[in-house]
Symmetry: C2
Subunit: 325 residues, 2 copies
């Protein structure tokens, strides 16, 4: 009888739920829009898990448990989320108790980027690595730090908030209360801010024209269309990604000087634009660090795409149920 | 027969060597000036260790081994120092082989701030803490990260280079090649740079006059005399420490957002000026982080002063020799 874990990855815009085998293969998957309200998001998560569990049961499969990845600062031991950028009314929300009432299966809970890091570590770009850092460049910037083979949580799950690393002490204001946070320069939100605040107004207008938007519609620009424009040779789009890459390089300087970890995995939607930002990022890093530090840095692309989170969440569940046995 | 470890702490200006009991008490101690040349500094270290070992033997004591803390990026497994800010000609210098030729005792080698972190963890301000960060604010800024009860080294000993965390992407040039490194704002060197570059020329002249220096002699100013001036009520000195505190707060934002560790221990000579920089540092931190993150932060003063390094180095030796038994 095949055994599955159900993996859940809740992002700011989408909820992904899947039935995953212990080798990381996904059997059934659902992708739903996520509603940014407390009551409205947890129940749909529970419903989707039950739906998928039903399908697995009908096929004769067994459910080992549920692994849940949530955005925000999550205490994995208590199963509490302290705060979340996407769900502002989450404040010490007790996820563990909620889901314990919904299911009879064992559950594990962690931050979404930590789950994605586990996915890449078990089945993706970081296979076999004892130490690595996953950065997810999406709407925001997430981080998962794997040290000595385990996700490092710090005290109470507060580690890995890499998006709020300060790269410009006097820089752009961030919703977290900070200024000059990395997220304001290298996430999708940050990149569109760079476009918006660019002094090259002519370049911006040409770009908008190229993607079929008027100056008034600039709020409708996406990183995906900026990427397409760069591929078509738009110089303004190229410069924006170059700038973003330099900022990423500065962030990596702090990150690597603190953690001393050689391998950085880049995931998230923005990493699609890899070809346009990676060299500027490496160059900035090399200029700002000791030669030996620069020589050792390896930046790799994540391999599991949008599935990393639910694969990692399932993997953690399997790991835990093996230990408990 | 009492058992001792010999602890060595090599700094940029001084070499400290001591015979330490397993409870952290120091029996004999020597402090010598450190010469910033390769050949000239390792031999004096070996000589000082032998001198102290002789004294211990004459008293009937036993030497369990030697713990050595060195400034720079040290690979503790191989006993190699990659580079050191104070000893620029150190480049993949094999400390382990050198000292193995000098002594018959077991040896352990690590970065000086990591050794100091172990000292504070075993016998000082961080007793009983599973996770903490030690920052040494001296000529430069050193860092030791203790995670799950062990110093975290990253890959090959490159972790904890907290002085090179970037706080101003476009800031002051640092000898490491970087710009806006924390060290350029909160170390002794950094603080004197803030004095030098202050636009308040009148304030600076008054300060210099107060400590008995002419404008031409400003290069002779020390942080100790700046601290004395602040204690005497000098407003310019107060403002410099306030500025330094704010920069420290920015550095802590990045550090805590990445590591999620709640306790920061501040040591090093500059920490003497605690009363003048600590509130500005906490205020800056609180303004720039989530409320819960700010609520959790605890900043403590190191307790072992200049002895932290050699106490920690001895402690590591004892820990290792217990394991090997």
């Amino acid at each position: 009888m095949p055994v599955y874990a159900i993996g859940v990855d809740l992002g700011g815009t989408h909820l992904r739920v899947g039935a995953v085998r212990s080798d990381g293969t996904i059997e059934i998957k659902e992708k739903l829009p996520a509603e940014a309200k407390k009551g409205e998001v947890l129940s749909p998560v529970a419903d989707a898990v039950k739906r998928i569990a039903d399908q697995i049961s009908k096929k004769g499969g067994t459910i080992a448990g549920v692994g849940l990845g949530f955005p925000g600062i999550v205490d994995p031991e208590q199963g509490i989320v302290y705060q979340s950028p996407h769900f502002p009314d989450w404040n010490r929300l007790d996820l563990h108790s909620f889901f314990k009432r919904e299911f009879r299966w064992p559950i594990v809970i962690d931050n979404d980027a930590n789950m994605a890091a586990r996915g890449e570590g078990r089945h993706g770009a970081a296979r076999g690595l004892k130490n690595f850092i996953l950065l997810t460049l999406g709407t925001g910037v997430g981080g998962g730090i794997v040290a000595n083979g385990e996700v490092f949580h710090g005290d109470g799950g507060f580690a890995g908030e890499v998006g709020h690393l300060v790269i410009e002490g006097d820089g752009a204001s961030c919703p977290c209360g900070g200024k000059g946070c990395l997220e304001m320069y290298v996430s999708a939100t940050g990149i569109l801010r760079l476009v918006e605040e660019s002094e090259d107004r002519r370049g911006r207008e040409q770009l908008l024209g190229r993607v079929g938007l008027t100056a008034d519609q600039s709020y409708r620009l996406t990183v995906a269309s900026l990427y397409e424009a760069a591929r078509e040779g738009d110089l303004f789009a190229h410069l924006i990604f170059k700038k973003m890459g330099s900022f990423l390089g500065i962030g990596l300087v702090s990150l690597i000087n603190i953690l001393g970890i050689e391998t950085v995995i880049l995931g998230g939607g923005v990493s699609q634009a890899w070809d346009f930002f990676i060299e500027p990022a490496k160059k900035e890093f090399s200029q700002r660090t000791y030669k030996e530090t620069a020589r050792r840095l390896k930046i790799l692309r994540a391999e599991l795409g949008d599935d990393a989170g639910l694969i990692g969440a399932s993997g953690l569940l399997f790991q835990k149920s093996q230990k408990d046995r």
